[in-house]
Symmetry: none
Subunit: 208 residues, 4 copies
């Protein structure tokens, strides 16, 4: 595939190949996890999807669990980026609606709905995952609260710093989570309806 075997002459940074391999594995793993779930996806399938041998995966990841962790971190990163984008958007309802179901197979711009569910379920049991997700949640909540309470001049929404901003941030997050759930459960949801309803609601949520 890529990674032209050795290419003597061009001295790539040490670890560049390792990084490439890791991401190849992660891409394959994500695909398998989406299709089968964390547990039902086998290392052999991941290896095949990555175009390499099972043994080689263990050069880059200590265990399947480590891959799962990495996938989760990746997904959380994606989510963070996505939420960051929303901050600057002029039309929040359109942005959120677009986020809904924007993730077809292979589209890796947003968090995958099945993975979102698996991650959240797994967080219930695995302390390491729980920690990662908890940290994500609290920073995201703080971020949103911050934006909501910032003055409009600074790109915020001017809500009182107290409970108004905190409560609405919480509701916003629930809304986003709920949309991910819907994405998994009703992939053919009427998006126009959703968008209109969202616009109306956000109008309320984002004004004092």
């Amino acid at each position: 595939m890529d990674a032209a075997v050795s290419t003597p002459g061009v001295e790539r940074k040490p670890g560049a190949r390792a990084t490439a391999q890791r991401s190849r594995i992660l891409r394959a793993a994500q695909q398998c996890f989406v299709e089968k779930g964390f547990h039902a996806a086998g290392m052999a399938a991941i290896a095949q999807a990555a175009g390499m041998s099972p043994g080689l995966i263990y050069r880059y990841f200590k265990s399947k669990n480590e891959i799962i962790l990495a996938i989760i971190e990746q997904q959380l990163g994606l989510a963070r980026a996505r939420i960051g984008e929303l901050h600057g958007a002029e039309d929040l309802a359109a942005g959120i609606t677009r986020a809904f179901q924007a993730t077809g197979e292979g589209d890796e711009r947003g968090i995958s709905a099945p993975l979102f569910l698996e991650m959240s379920a797994e967080a219930t049991r695995d302390p390491q995952i729980a920690t990662a997700i908890r940290e994500f949640d609290s920073t995201v909540r703080a971020d949103i609260e911050h934006v909501l309470s910032r003055s409009p001049k600074q790109g915020g929404y001017g809500l009182t710093a107290g409970s108004a901003a905190a409560g609405r941030a919480l509701l916003l997050i629930c809304l986003l989570d709920g949309l991910k759930v819907r994405e998994a459960r009703e992939p053919h949801l009427d998006r126009k309806l959703l968008r209109a309803a969202l616009a109306e609601l956000l109008n309320e949520l984002l004004t004092p």
Copy 2:
């Protein structure tokens, strides 16, 4: 069989024991599924939790998958009941907040947050589960729309039958889903904050 000879006259309902055993198994399975997930929970563990031998489970359920299906149906039934209760409630925000995290281990009044996530994730792959959930979703949505669009005199909220009711029903469901996700991910969420925010939001969502 021909052994209807015994106790003629007293019609014992068939399967009294069977029903008890089935529910014993389901209780054990639910506990294991919550603790480990559908796939990681072993039949041996379920059997032990149910206080019986692995083989016996198969007298009452044809396969592990059938148990999973039964648990899901049960959870959906619980969810339906819970949502039904909300209809008549005077204080919706309080009701929903109470619904949040009311489910400790062993509390079977509401749907379990981890199971909610597992079910939703599994629906992505298993067509049988997908069907069950899809049917649940559409009836619940229709129900809520109906209530929202009914006139206040009939216990409704008098929203226009058109997109207003439909859109808000959708948002309400997303909100409820989102709360389940939060319940799994942030079990120690500030409930007072949640309740206040919910009250404010519902006020908007439920008035024309």
Copy 3:
């Protein structure tokens, strides 16, 4: 079913019921063994076919293996009877051809071809079965030799007592065995062809 529960008044011989039950079980077991083989047939299936509970079978047979033994003895008895009939037959070829595939399901006049094969295979491993079959084989062989060597006036075929009778008895038995094998493997064999060929061959085998 039959066995009218108790019928006080008619005093049947002690053990009469037991005998009836045993034969009911054996009939059911034979059917199951023919359909599934000794190992694949389960006690539950046999019990159901016999119209009784699995537990009850153990009142009449100590183990599944004992049932297998009993079935084998029964089949050997059938075979003995069948061969006895042939002795007196005027047209041996017709008789043998009729024996071929005379055993539809439920027809219990002749040995069942699948059971014949299973028995023979099992004799290879189980010493008890081996003994039963070996004894059967040697008496049948002696019988046939005896008939072949008896003078025609006494209903025999007048072969010399020595190797002629012994050798031809052996060949006859092989032929009969081979026909059972064919019955299992080619149930739709052309019987007219078989009969003609047999007639021709027997003509040779049974004359000095």
Copy 4:
């Protein structure tokens, strides 16, 4: 995969090891099947006999049933070869007698008598096995008929193409089957007796 990079030039034939492993497994399986029968032989036992772990077997065979099928095909191949040898033999009786019981454990020149019985019994239930055996039977029968009806100059026996050849081919096959049955049931049969009787009979069967 893309790792055709290594050793370009030397074309090692693909699956040299795989072939060896497969035959190691088949050898072990055959031994176990002969000793215990298809169903009573466990994969663990086969694995141990093959000197490998149970899991490894599944790299080479998809299921136990596939192994059984392979063994059966192998046995049918052996039988075909054995019958082919007989065609050219000058002394058919000696050849057939030699075929009788030539198969000790480990001797793989001829079909194993216990397997012959198991196969035939199993053909009664498993359609796949039935098909394989049926095809074998019909080609072998046609072959034998062909030889019998060919003119002596061409190495045949000059029987009329009609029923004489067909009928005698059928009898020959029954005889061979019957000998396999005898081999299983009376392994210590007097071979001299058998040979003499066979010679006499074949003399009749193979002349017009």
